[in-house]
Amino acid sequence: MKYFLVLIVAVVIVLHQDNLLWDSWKDSTLVFGFLPIGLAYHVGYSFVAALTMWLLVTLAWPKHLEEGEAE
């Protein structure tokens, strides 16, 4: 599980670098008529980042640190 999550985080970080897409988006297409497509990508990316954090918190929460809470 640990390696799977590391892989997920690595992939999400790589997805931030959208250079290939930027080249094809030089036409500045507007999504829904008002949102430039490059901006729409990164808005979507923000939600993916939140989802990734949810996965980390759910599957890899450092439970051993909670021991300190009881002390």
Binding site: V9, V12, I13, H16, Q17, D18, N19, W22, W25, K26, S28, L30, G33, F34, L35, P36, G38, L39, Y41, H42, V43, Y45, S46, F47, A49, A50, T52, M53, W54, L56, V57, W61, P62, H64, L65, E66, E67, G68, E69, E71
Partner: protein
């Protein structure tokens, strides 16, 4: 003047919050400096997030989007949306647990103990304090300027800055960390709420966002703002390293120690990317949209483009409330003042025997005296150097790189048993030298810095100018980077704003070399004592 009145009402409210927090105080050092480690999940999320939302982030992002386009969101916001919560998840939670277990109140206390060395702690204290002070100065300047702009120059700069200084000093002095956290949570809520309302109202007043975007898209110079055309791939990549700085800023790492339970980090980690989006998306979008209303602002004028949009497109009430919201961001210096005060009392006063000798009450008094002293000094600097704001803005940019380059030191301390004080010292010394080196390169290349790309109205004026050639002040340019030392090729390039290394921001080599020095320095020196290793990596953790 109605909008100014609203801003003053807002300032009175935050002052009251600080005094109310004072009444809830328990009178102990841990209570004043860390709110007794008792913050609930939502206050923790909002205050931690608010701590990191400065005027530099809000006003700077819209100003930058005005000249460089929507790519600024990916450059700063979505990169922060993944890296900052990741560092809070990995580093913040560990700092919280170790702080609770060993009663640390600052990073320096942890680093001193972890590496059995006073000197490394003192060195990192001096380095981080020096990188934090420009923030406080610029906040005083920002406060004076925002009040001056919102009041249409009826409230003078010195008076506005003074009012902000007194209010911030007041609630930090009385409320300590609890007051600072509550005010931050209040400010963040206010900004999120009224920011959304202002966004909609501004859009309506300007004729609707679809129409604005279509008009920008119709002309090639402004259509470029709807793409990442003005942000090179190397710069875009290297900005990914900047958010590593967040957790290394003392005000953020100390804030991590205030949570009541480690479980409170969960909401913060998950919601952080969404909170960043809620603040940055409107800021960047409005920065770009402003091009249709104010086509020819200079880079300096573009920095307050959000305030211009507000005053031109909304009524006095909304403008005043949002002015207050922007003041909230400007006043994020509260947590930096609080952090410096905590560091001063814990890393110097207490560490060198002050608490033992004079007791807990005097320790708190020393902290409060420090708050008054540092606020006063920052205010006086803000008055004396009013027209040299760019010096402090530069210092902040360097501070981001410096704090990011210290992240490998913290990661090694938390996760690598074999890491040593010598590795940490090598990395920290490198950070200091690199920050000074970049400062030097920026200063020596100032005269050859290319001018930013031409605004549409000035296109004709700039026509025919050779790209890369040093520009005549006052004229628009291509923005293309020039070689600082032609005999060294592209090693050091100077763009309109930054110095780069082969096109990459200095933060990238700074972080990588810092990590390398941490590793090599640790491997070639004796490991830390077994007692220390077992203290920070207990056997149960290995299983």
């Amino acid at each position: 003047m109605l909008s100014v009145g609203i801003v003053f009402v807002y300032l009175a409210i935050v002052l009251y919050i600080g005094i109310f927090a004072f009444r809830k105080g328990k009178g102990s050092g841990e209570d004043f400096f860390l709110a007794s480690r008792s913050l609930g999940p939502w206050v923790f999320l909002l205050s931690l997030f608010g701590t990191n939302m400065t005027a530099f982030a809000i006003l700077g992002s819209s100003g930058m989007a005005y000249s460089r386009g929507i790519g600024v969101y990916g450059l700063m916001a979505s990169s922060s949306g993944i890296i900052i919560p990741l560092t809070i998840f990995l580093i913040g939670t560990r700092l919280w647990a170790l702080g609770k277990k060993h009663e640390h109140m600052t990073q320096v206390q942890f680093l001193r103990d972890r590496w059995e060395c006073d000197g490394i702690g003192t060195f990192i204290f001096a380095l981080t304090a020096a990188m934090l002070i420009p923030y406080i100065v610029i906040a005083m300047m920002g406060g004076g300027e925002v009040l001056e702009t919102v009041s249409d120059h009826k409230v003078p700069y010195w008076f506005g800055g003074g009012i902000v200084a007194i209010v911030v000093m007041g609630y930090v002095f009385f409320g300590g960390m609890r007051g600072t956290a509550w005010v931050n949570a209040f400010q963040t809520t206010l900004f999120l709420l009224f920011g959304s309302i202002a966004f909609i109202l501004i859009g309506k007043s300007m004729g609707g966002f679809p129409q604005i975007m279509e008009s920008l898209n119709a002309r090639p110079p402004t259509a470029a703002l709807l793409t990442r055309e003005r942000i090179p791939a190397e710069e875009f990549f290297s900005y990914l390293f900047i958010p590593l700085s967040a957790i290394m800023f003392p005000h953020l790492s100390i804030m991590c120690l205030t949570a009541e339970k480690i479980g409170h980090f969960k909401k913060t980690v998950i919601w952080y990317p969404v909170c960043i989006m809620a603040i940055w998306l409107p800021s960047v979008y409005l920065g770009v949209a402003a091009k249709s209303q104010f086509p020819s602002l200079t880079p300096g004028e573009a920095n307050d483009v959000i305030i211009r949009l507000l005053t031109q497109n909304t009524g006095a009430i909304v403008s005043g409330v949002l002015g207050a919201g922007i003041m909230a961001c400007v006043m994020a210096s509260d947590s930096q003042i609080m952090a410096l005060s905590t560091m001063f009392t814990q890393d110097l006063f207490t560490h060198y025997g002050g608490k033992e000798k004079f007791g807990d009450r005097v320790q708190i008094m020393a902290g409060r005296a420090f708050v008054v002293g540092i606020t006063l000094i920052a205010y006086l600097i803000a008055l004396a150097l009013k027209d040299q704001e760019s010096i402090f803005e530069l210092a902040i940019r360097f501070a981001f790189s410096g704090f990011a380059a210290l992240a490998p030191v913290m990661l090694a301390a938390l996760f690598w048993k074999r890491s040593t004080k010598w590795g940490a010292l090598a990395a920290s010394t490198w950070v200091l030298c690199a920050v000074l080196g970049v400062w030097h390169l920026t200063a020596v290349s100032e005269s050859i810095a290319p001018r930013p790309p031409a605004p549409p109205a000035a296109t004709a004026m700039a026509k025919g100018k050779a790209p890369g050639k040093a520009m005549v002040p006052g004229k628009a340019g291509s923005g293309k980077a020039v070689q600082i030392y032609p005999d060294r090729g592209d090693l050091f390039l100077r763009g309109p704003v930054n110095v780069t290394v082969y096109g990459y921001l200095p933060v990238m080599p700074m972080v990588l070399i810092s990590a390398l020095l941490m590793i090599v320095g640790s491997l070639v020196t004796p490991p830390p004592s077994r007692a220390t290793v077992e203290k920070y990596f207990p056997p149960a953790r290995r299983s």
